[in-house]
């Protein structure tokens, strides 16, 4: 188990010493009990740093902003950014390194281990504690969480309220780090793609109906894309709102820009948006499930990305975010790659 004081001390060391510009971590919100992302610029700010099972945000997405910010500065501060990462998050850092989006010296990784449990799923917590007001959730040494409500403390088995993705987790502790807090444990889930079984057993028609219903709800808020650390393209191909336009972009180029997806949130446009985004994440998604958490209308986006992760593994024996030396899945070709789907 990670001792919060140790994490704070490590963080303070690098911030005080000037090794890092600032640290991206977690803090308690103004109201409620779920941790929120926070930026710590001064060592004394770190007193507010927290580490508990509500730290489910994947903070790697803020490395995108850091890079874009530096690009806009004349004399950027080249020191690395300190970032608190969990196991799944660390693989996201690896994907960014593998794709040369950031350099290793741009990040100082404070790795924290989730131990035997993982992160809670907010919807499950709410359902379990129907109506009760929760103030705190803590890790325990064994496989349970301690939840503090206005009525006292309750010990809850982790399996009851932790996130689906944590049931299939294989990296309970960061695979890349400058500092590691907590035990370096590896999990071997029995069925790493078990959550897909129910869906895979549906008929083609049932699958179509399922996704019709789900994707009709989509309001194209783009939260799923904005919160994904891998969606860093300046100009997204399935987005009609962000264009990389500069003062010297010729008029013809702007005029000929193809609108692949209309702005209207109709079911067919939503299908294109989500399917294309999922395919662009094949071999890149680390299953942090932030997209599903961020979705305000509860679309089970994790299924789409997890399925492609499974295909990547089964067809190409590719694991996402473990080895930064190997080329990215979609930008490489090996002679032994299967060809039976090419007709």
């Amino acid at each position: 188990m990670v001792a919060l004081e140790d994490l704070k001390q490590e963080a303070k060391n690098v911030l005080e010493g000037g090794t890092v510009k600032y640290i991206i971590g977690y803090k308690k919100p103004a109201a409620g009990f779920m941790a929120v992302p926070a930026f710590f610029h001064k060592p004394e700010d770190l007193d507010a740093l927290v580490w508990d099972p509500t730290c489910f945000h994947n903070l790697v997405l803020f490395l995108k902003d850091e890079k874009k910010r530096k690009l806009g500065q004349k004399e950027p501060d080249e020191r690395p950014v300190g970032i608190v990462v969990k196991g799944c998050d660390s693989r996201a850092v690896n994907v960014l390194l593998q794709e040369n989006y950031i350099d290793r010296e741009n990040v100082y990784i404070l790795g924290v281990s989730c131990g035997k449990t993982g992160m809670v799923d907010l919807k499950k917590v709410r359902k379990y504690f129907m109506g009760k007001i929760i103030s705190q959730i803590d890790f325990n040494e064994n496989e349970s969480f301690t939840v503090t409500t206005t009525e006292g403390k309750v010990e809850v088995p982790a399996t009851d309220i932790f996130a689906d993705r944590c049931t299939e987790c294989r990296t309970a502790s960061p695979v890349i780090h400058d500092v590691l807090l907590g035990e370096d444990s590896v999990r071997t889930p029995e069925n790493p793609f078990g959550s897909l079984e129910e869906m895979e057993n549906k008929s083609q028609e049932q699958k179509w109906d399922f996704w019709q219903e789900q994707l009709t709800k989509c309001i194209r808020c783009y939260a799923c894309r904005s919160i994904c650390p891998m969606c860093y393209c300046d100009e997204c191909v399935v987005d009609t709102i962000n264009f990389a336009v500069y003062p010297d972009t010729p008029a013809e180029e702007k005029a000929q820009k193809i609108k692949w997806v209309e702005k209207s949130p109709t079911t067919s446009e939503n299908f294109i948006y989500h399917m294309v985004r999922a395919i662009h994440l094949a071999g890149r998604c680390v299953d942090c499930a932030e997209c599903e958490r961020a979705c305000p209308v509860d679309i089970p986006l994790r299924f789409l990305n997890k399925k492609l992760e499974k295909e990547s593994k089964e067809l190409f024996d590719y694991d996402v975010g473990y080895d930064i030396e190997i080329p990215a899945l979609i930008s490489s070709f090996r002679d032994e790659d299967p060809e039976d789907f090419i007709r």
Binding site: G32, P37, A38, S226, I227, V297, D298
Partner: protein, 333 residues
């Protein structure tokens, strides 16, 4: 409900983890134990996609434009919370004025809002009392229902509401003498249950007038991911885009369509030349707060916020508008 079958009825329906307004065809499926819907009635009265007209080229390449033929039907939105009804009244102000938005008003005039007073706050982040509302506020409602022990106390505030009540006939009976007192007690009790408040919010609009260049906006917007959740779920936000959707380019045919848009998207204000008056998150967060708590206040004498708390509950990175307002209020102290 059966007696209301001349109306298109929308009511809250439970999905897996949230409530949502849906068109109802089975009166039995109406439930009134909902908290609040994920989207406000804005999605029905000011829908996310509205076809302005269809166009095609006629003889001699003359453009012909045709407005949608279908007329909106008389609609009842059932189970609306007071914060959302106030949101509708704010949208009414925007779409009125020198240029009335006829698409909006055609629908709005046919809509009857039947509300349910909140006995407990639907969200831990409700703060309606701080922005001039309350769990039993009547603005915007045609009918408001308050749940008492054995029955609902129902009040009508408009002709549309009266029509509905008359249609329902003998479902309603005259309230007993002390029912009114019970209702008023229920209302004042509900106010005490609100957990979150912003003290002295009235000091914020004047303070904001001098905070355009404050570094506060940069600090508060660091984690914003520029999605559309806060604005799309907000009952009062109304920004939109107009675009042409082609069905065929030759012969030309398509539709001109209005869709919701959002001042938090990076390219919202970008000019074709590449110049963007609001190029960063700080300026966009500032715009959101300024518009809701400064400009709208000056123009319409009301906060453009109803305290529904959706933006706080659903922000994926935990940006809390109450926290930001409190920082504005206390800035420099």
């Amino acid at each position: 409900m059966r007696k209301l079958n001349v109306y298109q009825i929308y009511a809250p329906v439970k999905k897996e983890s949230h409530w949502s307004y849906e068109a109802l065809d089975k009166p039995e499926s109406i439930r009134l134990d909902h908290l609040n819907t994920i989207q406000s009635p804005k999605m029905i009265i000011f829908p996310q996609r509205e076809v302005f007209f269809e166009f095609h080229n006629a003889e001699g390449n003359t453009p012909v434009m045709k407005e949608p033929a279908s007329e909106p039907s008389a609609t009842v939105i059932f189970g609306v919370r007071p914060c959302d009804a106030v949101g509708v009244t704010h949208q009414d102000k925007v779409f009125n004025g020198d240029f009335k938005d006829l698409y909006y008003w055609k629908r709005r005039n046919q809509t009857i809002l039947v509300g349910l007073a909140c006995d407990t706050p639907p969200s831990p982040h409700c703060f309606c009392l701080s922005v001039g509302g309350s769990p039993h506020f009547t603005a915007g409602f045609d009918i408001l229902m308050t749940e008492l022990e054995d029955f609902y106390y129902v009040e009508s505030f408009s002709k549309k509401g009266d029509t509905l009540i008359n249609l329902a006939g003998d479902i309603f009976s005259t309230p007993k003498e002390n029912s009114k007192k019970d209702k008023e007690k229920a209302h004042s009790d509900s106010e005490k249950k609100l957990k979150r408040h912003i003290k002295n919010l009235e000091t914020v609009p004047p303070k904001l007038k001098n905070m355009f260049d404050s570094p506060l906006w940069e600090e508060e917007s660091l984690s914003c991911i520029q999605c559309g959740i806060c604005t799309y779920l907000c009952p009062t936000c109304h920004c939109f885009d107009i675009s042409d959707e082609l069905d065929s380019s030759s012969p030309l045919s398509g539709k001109r369509v209005r869709t919701w848009d959002n001042c938090q998207f990076p390219d919202f204000t970008m000019h074709s030349s590449g110049h963007n008056p609001r190029p960063d998150r700080a300026s966009r967060l500032r715009q959101r707060i300024m518009h809701k708590f400064n400009y709208f206040v000056t123009n319409y004498q009301a906060y453009q916020c109803t305290g529904c708390g959706r933006c706080i509950a659903k922000c994926p990175v935990g940006i809390d508008i109450i926290e930001v307002l409190e920082k504005v209020r206390d800035y420099g102290k």
